[in-house]
Amino acid sequence: MTDIPAKAAVNSMSGGSVLLTLMKARTFIALIAVLLFFSIAAPNFLSAANLILMSKHVALNAFLAMGMTFVIITGGIDLSVGSIVGLCGMVAGYLVLNGIDLQVGYTIYFNVFEIALITLAVGILIGAVNGLLITRLNVAPFIATLGVLYVARGLALLSSDGRTFPNLVGKPELGTTGFGFLGAGRLLGLPVALWILLVVALGAAYLAKYTPLGRHIFAVGGNERAARISGVRVNMVKMFVYMFSGFCAAIVGLIISSELMASHPATGESFELNAIAAAVLGGTSMSGGRGTIGGTIVGAFVIGILSDGLVMMGVSSFWQMVIKGLVIIVAVVVDQAQRRLQSRVTLMQMAKAG
């Protein structure tokens, strides 16, 4: 969506337009800058092993940030994703270890594929709760998802009484083995998690650009009233974005517990903030209506590489936080400057045109 006005702006390559193009590519420039910087400053940074490790870290945040991007484009926010990660991890762990006790002497055990599906369904369901609170009961998204943040985290802790579900290897006779594939497995030399990210990201980008639902997401965020009058089912669109966000969080929950072969109820705390940061860094506007999946992924990479690189350089974690904060603020300031410049360029073009 946001690249459409870009075309119009690039037509006349005046000084303003060059600057504008640079500013539009700012997240990419930032990505290249951090890559260059750390490849010089941190030894081993560019080694294949490190790059793969880093991209796995980034992938987790990128999933959440994609869900967050759609939510923010509709003008909302989803604070509950971190808790959904935790709860879904616990659901998966519980099912691997205990199955479901039917209370009549039977216990059903699921295979890993079914467990993954159930966990994803739980994530989507919690997203649906968010959506219902927001669309049916008119709770502000910030408050609704804040409430769900606590509820989901509490449920995660309750599920194991605060303990970790350890050693999720499963038993061959129950068919519950192979849970580690998601987090530790590899396909064609790349981690499975990265492949999943690729699939989900392509799907989300396609959805945003080429489907009516995607168009409606932007319309709802740009002007909800106008969207409603144009026949957009605003409530359905909102339900979808929160459910998609819950879906993304469930994937992250699965990957983390699979990677560790254990589920810890505190997993995912404050993940929502990283996701918001990545979305904003990638050019998503908090006031709604603007944002791209591609931008968000690049934003997630910038944040991920920044924190991993700083760790490798041995920068104290306290300074890491300061630096991360500054990067986010600068990103938003540049974003505002770009909008002002863009409207000026547009006005100038209008004046020239007639």
């Binding site: 006005p5 489907t211 740009g222 106008a226 026949g231 957009v232 006005l347």
Partner: protein, 514 residues
């Protein structure tokens, strides 16, 4: 005009230009002490702009303001207030979360020695002003708990409490009941006796004739008539308001409307504050017919359209398209049944301003271009190009943001969006508001063409000229009720004006001026 010594404020050759449009052109306007100076004009004639200039909210682009014969310039409304000019705004400027007393004394709070707000004193003084308005409003009530009419009275009390020498009232009675209007008139008489100059703006002609001393008529930003109220009558006012210069309305082509395409039966919409915003309205429309709905502001025209589009879940009544009852109650499915609305407020309801012209055009009709779930870019582009050409939308590249277009072209985008849904019935709410003359002519031509193609068009307007020139039939609404239905042949301006004022009079007909 009489005695110059009475003139307290004088505008000389004042003009105000907004980006692209001229709101006020070389206006000369005098305000007299101890008199009610009435200002009338159609919507968009420039009344509110002129008043905002006097109240310091807007600065004139050209011209001089003379206060007591001395040239002044107000850089803010605070400036004007300090020179004794108060204003009751048309849009309520109150803080709903604060009490009545806090609102009345906002920005000039009464404080004690320690800079602490003296709540008791504020409420005591507020009570004095409120008592004069006899509205039964306690100063410690929250403004958001009051009815709209009462809120308007608070706004008036606030303006009166300024002890202004000049008090501007922009449509102060638009939300008041008949009894409240009477009280307001008493307060105005009282102020007049104390030598306050009152500038009074209203659409309700009988009201103006009753309380006005002088009258000034504005049309298209120019002052077209000034007179003593005792020398004029309704006819004169209407003539000055409308003028004789013909606007460019597309000619009727004399095609005959066909079968009934749309019928609304007994549409009712309750108001939040009690009463009905749309009061048992029934009407029918034939293919190829343009039915104009004339009415003043707040007559319930937009609300009727909202009900028809299914935007209010709690509205009652039935609608029929081509004789079949429409059971769907939500906007999405009503659009699919062949209804489309062009809303009055382009920015807030018509357009998603940060999306491109193309995305806006196809927003309501995306399903037409979809195969499975994929939007076919070529089909969409083709529809966009065709619409841009047919409606003569001036845009270099449909990928441009829609907000970069002029008002008239934005309006054409809204119309194009509605037409792409393939409607049978088109509802147009003030389709010519806020757009330039050329674009207006284009919009009117489009309406004619659509009706020739067999669409039924319902269009609401408060412009007499427009409704007379474009409609095959004219319905008049007042206070939520349908108060008149005229064939074009038999409609006269006077009859329309009379019907549109129905139920507005502070006193029953016949007792007026008593």
């Amino acid at each position: 005009m009489t005695g110059d010594q009475d003139v307290i404020l004088k505008l000389e050759d004042v003009s105000k230009v907004y980006s692209g449009t001229v709101a006020v052109k070389r206006a000369n306007f005098e305000v007299r002490k101890g008199a009610v100076n009435v200002l009338v004009g159609e919507n968009g004639a420039g009344k509110s702009t002129l008043m905002k200039i006097i109240a310091g909210v807007e600065q004139p682009t050209l011209g001089r303001i003379l206060l007591d014969g001395e040239e002044v310039s107000f850089s803010s409304s605070g400036d004007a207030v300090s020179r004794g000019i108060g204003m009751v705004f048309q849009e309520l400027n109150l803080f709903g979360n604060l009490t009545v007393a806090e609102n009345i004394f906002a920005t000039r709070e009464i404080t004690n020695r320690f800079r602490k707000i003296d709540r008791k004193e504020q409420e005591r003084r507020a009570a004095e002003f409120l008592e004069r308005l006899e509205a039964g409003i306690r100063p410690d009530m929250l403004v958001e708990d009051l009815r709209i009419g009462q809120q308007q009275l608070v706004e008036i009390a606030k303006a009166v409490s300024l002890d202004a020498r000049i008090l501007i009232m922009d449509e102060p009675t638009s939300a008041l009941s008949a009894a409240e209007v009477e009280i307001l008139f008493k307060v105005i008489a009282d102020l007049k006796a104390r030598g306050v100059a009152i500038v009074y703006i209203s659409h309700r002609l009988e009201e103006l004739i009753r309380i006005g001393d002088t009258i000034t008529v504005l049309r298209d930003g120019r002052i077209t008539g000034q007179a003593e109220m005792k020398d004029v009558d309704t006819q004169w006012i209407v003539r000055q308001m409308i003028g004789s210069d013909a606007k460019d309305f597309a000619k009727a082509d004399g095609h005959v409307p066909g079968e009934e395409i749309f019928r609304a039966e007994d549409i009712c919409l309750p108001r939040v504050t009690g009463g009905l915003a749309v009061d048992h309205v029934s009407l029918s429309l034939r293919t190829g017919e343009i039915l104009g709905i004339y009415g003043l502001m707040g007559a319930g025209r937009s609300e009727l359209f909202d009900c028809i589009m299914g935007r209010h879940g709690h509205s009652t009544g039935a609608i029929f398209i081509a004789g079949k009852k429409v059971h769907e109650r939500d906007t999405t499915r009503r659009i699919r049944r062949g209804l489309a609305l062009i809303p009055e407020d382009r920015q807030r309801e018509g357009l998603v301003s940060i999306l491109s012209v193309a995305s806006n055009l196809t927003l309501a009709s995306l399903s037409r271009f979809v195969r499975l779930f994929h939007i076919r870019g070529a089909a969409e582009r083709q529809a966009v190009t065709q619409t841009v050409r047919e409606l003569a939308i001036k845009v270099a590249d449909p990928a441009q943001e829609v907000s970069s277009l002029s008002g008239g072209n934005q309006q054409k985008v809204v119309i194009g969006k509605a037409l792409l849904t393939g409607p049978k019935v088109l509802l147009m709410d003030e389709p010519s508001r806020g757009i330039d003359v050329g674009a207006k002519a284009d919009v009117f031509r489009t309406m004619r063409k659509l009706s020739r193609d067999g669409l039924g068009i319902l269009f609401a307007t408060s412009d007499l000229d427009e409704v007379m020139a474009l409609s095959d039939r004219i319905a008049v609404m007042s206070n939520g009720k349908l108060t008149g239905m005229f064939d074009r042949a038999e409609a006269t301006e006077a009859a329309l004006v009379a019907a549109s004022a129905f139920g507005h009079g502070p006193v029953p007909h016949g007792e007026q001026g008593a």
